[in-house]
């Protein structure tokens, strides 16, 4: 192992330890915040372009302007809206 390799190995080790500590200490906090955000995002898509799923919401004129930004999320959004849920989902 050269000095260079040693250093990068140490760096990776340090990073891993940091990650593990983050995973134990705060990952769930960050995740819950993001989950809430994501949920709101889905609500957002629903109320602005719910007609994509046949929910009879007339899309206001300006919804269309938001469409380009939503394009990449449409498929995951649909999946989440339509996926069958189980009670055990709530344990996460």
């Amino acid at each position: 192992m050269t000095e260079e390799e040693k250093r990068s190995f140490l760096k990776r080790m340090l990073q891993s330890i940091q990650d593990v500590i983050y995973g134990m200490a705060s990952h769930d906090m960050a995740r819950q915040a993001l989950k809430t955000r994501g949920s709101m995002e889905h609500l957002f898509i629903l109320i602005t372009m719910g007609d994509l799923l046949g929910v009879p919401i007339l899309p206001p004129y300006y919804s269309l302007r938001l469409l380009p930004y939503v394009v990449p999320q449409i498929s995951t959004w649909k999946r989440r809206m339509l996926r069958e849920r189980d009670l055990t989902d709530a344990l996460a």
Partner: protein, 590 residues
């Protein structure tokens, strides 16, 4: 001896991971780092979100390590420390990691379904229904078993004030991070310091006097016994602190998660970490420098038949409900971790890695228990004259162990070490209890909310679950609840293993490595549950009052119910297994 046992545990973990788990992962499951996982494919920012392997290792470990690995071994040493240790090692090696890892893998390969969906898919619609009912009782037992431990911990005079201040520091941490938008490092330093001072304050005489005064409110000695249960007296402190513990859980369940549950957990994490790392090092420091007595005082083997707990088989295997294997983990693996793994190959270090680490933690608890049968002041922990009966709460043993093994750190007094240990334990228990309560609330809203709209109100569902918990807490002897909980928990693991077996068979993979553990878990736990049920029903007959009879009846019925549902599930499961095998064979023949 302590250091040797700990080293053996580490070695087993290493060897088991390196030479068994890795082989299964590569050869049987054929984990493929290039295959898109549900977390990546369905990344919806809510249910599915990828995270790195190391982060998830931390997450998984934190989520699975609760009271189980600590309380289990402490109780189980009553049969002798060797059987407990053997079960820990063999259990984790052949059963524990298999479940945790394979459950995550199974969920990942099935579009991120959780246990209910998997049971529906691989066994039958009925299986899912039974599983959910089973789950509710299982979670209720967690509440009861953990609640009792926390109540016991809180009645110790050095604990409540420290925990209260730590809770306040947690709330402050939430406020600082989310409302005041302060930097996390700053927040951490401030709040952990406050909590540390709080724990220290809790150990001072004045603070202890307050708690002692509360404990004495209903009188001391015989007078503070409120009533007798079939298993012994219900004391005022236990009654009172039980309420406090559940009130804490109630807040955690109904308040916004970022206001209470999460930041409190966050602050206490640093104490958990300090306790863990400190005491592992403490064991070695003690072994090398002889600062603490680390010779095992409980014999390697005590008895085949522990009068209070029962036969070594099956009861020991359900007493140690975590550390060797636990059904809880399959819930975490499927609903939590499987939806976050960004590479299939991460499942092994995360699922199996965390499980092996937990076995080491359980070994620590075993060492704490086996090295102390009495405190220096003469108070007895395990009664050497009487089959090494546990004379105190499991929490007390842990506190005492922590106190001793942390005392190598300059500045940490035994009282402080004990308090950290207690808070460590209480917080681990409360974390799981809050999660469980949240789940029970959602479950009741979902299951009966349409018929009884009141259950859609979060407070109603939570309060009902809490009332059930009180019922268990106040009528039953916790060691029995503990065994019931352990039974349910291990049975759930058996179920998960059965599901894994069917999944493996349906894909035409080797499944013996999951099937035989499933059989063993099934046989052991169903037997244990039946034994508990039988014992409870027998105890009903003894004329010790209505509460007695009621508590036993509840315990007995729960045990019986769980055993019956398990058998029904097993029958359905075996049928499905046969079908899966046929199908796979037919496919292979094509």
């Amino acid at each position: 001896m302590a250091a040797v046992v700990l080293l053996i545990a580490l070695a087993v973990a290493y060897v088991g991971y390196k030479f068994y788990a890795v082989k299964i992962d590569r050869q049987v499951i054929e984990a493929n780092p290039k295959k898109a996982t549900p977390a990546v494919m369905y990344n919806d920012g809510v249910d599915f979100m990828p995270a790195s392997g190391s982060v998830l290792f931390g997450y998984q470990f934190k989520s699975i390590a609760a009271l189980g690995p600590i309380v289990g071994p402490i109780v189980a040493v009553q049969w002798g420390w060797l059987p407990a240790f053997l079960w820990l090692m063999l259990g984790v090696l052949f059963i524990g990691w298999v479940q945790d890892y394979a459950a995550a893998m199974m969920a990942m390969r099935n579009d991120g379904l959780t246990m209910g969906g998997l049971a529906y898919k691989f066994i039958s619609p009925r299986a899912r229904g039974i599983l959910l009912a089973f789950l509710y009782f299982y979670l209720l037992l967690i509440m009861g078993a953990f609640g009792a431990v926390v109540a016991g911990l809180l009645s110790n005079p050095v604990v409540p004030i420290g925990l209260l201040i730590l809770t306040l520091a947690g709330i402050l941490a939430g406020q600082m991070t989310y409302r005041w938008k302060m930097d996390l490092v700053m927040t951490t330093i401030v709040t952990v310091l406050i909590a540390l001072i709080g724990i220290w304050l809790g150990t001072t005489g004045a603070a202890q006097d307050i708690v002692k005064a509360i404990n004495a409110m209903a009188g001391t000695g015989d007078k503070h016994i409120l009533y007798n249960t079939p298993y012994g007296p219900m004391t005022w402190p236990k009654f009172f602190w039980g309420i406090v513990a559940l009130a804490f859980c109630y807040l955690g369940s109904v308040l916004p998660i970022w206001r209470f549950a999460q930041p409190v957990n966050y602050v206490s994490f640093w104490f958990v970490a300090l306790g863990l790392v400190g005491s592992v090092l403490g064991v070695f420091v003690a072994a090398l420098f002889g600062t603490t007595n680390v010779s095992f005082q409980i014999p390697a083997f005590v008895t085949w038949n522990q009068p209070k707990l029962g036969w070594l088989w099956p009861m020991l295997f359900v007493t140690i409900s975590c550390g060797a294997i636990s059904g809880w983990h399959s819930l975490v693996s499927t609903a939590g971790t499987a939806r976050q793994l960004e590479k299939e190959t991460d499942a092994l270090p995360v699922g199996a890695g965390a499980m092996f680490t937990e076995a080491v933690l359980a070994t620590m608890a075993l060492i704490f228990a086996a090295t102390a049968i009495a405190k220096p002041d003469g108070s007895i922990l395990y009664d050497a004259k009487n089959m090494y009966f546990l004379k105190t709460g499991a929490g007390g043993i842990w506190m005492y162990g922590m106190a001793r093994f942390l005392s190598w750190i300059p500045g940490i007094s035994p009282a402080m070490g004990g308090a950290i240990g207690a808070i460590f334990l209480a917080v681990m228990a409360l974390t799981v209890m809050q999660l469980v309560l949240r789940f029970m609330r959602v479950a009741s809203a979902e299951l009966v909310g349409d018929k009884i709209p009141a259950f859609k109100n979060p407070h109603v569902g939570t309060i009902v679950a809490i009332l059930f918990t009180f019922l268990i807490l106040w009528t039953a002897f916790w060691q029995r609840i503990w065994v019931l909980f352990g039974g349910a928990n291990q049975l759930f693991a058996g179920l998960a293993l059965l599901l894994i077996t069917i999944w493996l068979a349906s894909e035409g993979r080797k499944y013996a490595w999951a099937f035989w553990p499933a059989v063993f878990m099934y046989a052991t736990t169903v037997m244990a549950l039946l034994v508990v049920a039988w014992k409870s029903f027998v105890a009903m007959g003894s004329a010790k009052g209505a509460a007695f009879a009621f508590g036993n009846a509840v315990a007995g019925l729960i045990g019986l119910f769980l055993a019956i549902t398990a058998i029904v599930l097993a029958i359905d499961g075996l049928k499905s297994l046969a079908k899966a095998k046929q199908k796979a064979a037919a496919r292979a023949g094509d």
